[in-house]
Amino acid sequence: MKAYLVVAIAGVLVTMAMALVRAARGPSVYDRILAVNSFGTVTVLFISVLGFLLGRPDFLDLALLYALLNFVGTIAILKYFKYGNLAAGED
């Protein structure tokens, strides 16, 4: 239980809580999409640091795949808001 990893996990958990509050409060829908995107990035960090904390660096595969999924999910949500349909915009 290295001390700097504990500090990192604490910081990441605090950031998660703050992104959660912004997703619940944010007056416009774009605030909420931003909060979910930030939460996804912070989850990637959480998975990486947790892997080292528990002595299982194999969790990094999950962090890698989640970094990509986060991006694809955000773009899909934005495409829905802009066009109302996931297939639009292709020509």
Binding site: K2, Y4, L5, V7, A8, A10, G11, V12, V14, T15, A17, M18, A19, V21, R22, G26, S28, Y30, D31, I33, L34, A35, N37, S38, T41, V42, V44, L45, S48, V49, F52, P57, L60, D61, A63, L64, A67, L68, N70, F71, T74, I75, L78, F81, K82
Partner: protein
């Protein structure tokens, strides 16, 4: 060697975690969506870079270091793209900043 690695880990990981918390505070306290985008950008770039580089210094297999480098590369490529897409979508659908409520529509939307 271990002392140097320990000191460098403290030097990278703790400021990285502090920058993530700073981004979070910005998300909560800033008054407007476009301002909060800046705060989220701090978390997405320097926060993750410092934490991931600090994790690369931990004693582990070389594959772990390569995976961390690939995660960092993907986050660097996709975070600014997602941020740009988000702001573009917000602006072209009429969301205006708090202190510039009568900003004009960009020309490419009007001509569509």
């Amino acid at each position: 060697m271990d002392a140097i690695r320990e000191a460098l880990s403290w030097l990278f990981i703790v400021p990285g975690a502090l920058l993530c918390v700073t981004g979070g505070i910005g998300l909560l306290r800033l008054p407007d969506f476009y301002a909060r985008m800046h705060a989220a950008g701090v978390t997405d770039t320097l926060g993750t870079a410092l934490v991931l580089v600090g994790l690369m210094l931990q004693p582990a297999d070389w594959t772990v270091t390569v995976k961390l480098a690939v995660i960092l590369f993907f986050l660097y490529v996709t975070s600014p793209t997602a941020a740009h897409a988000l702001i573009h979508a917000a602006y072209t659908s009429g969301h205006r900043p708090e202190f510039a409520k009568d900003a004009p529509l960009p020309r490419e939307v009007e001509s569509r």
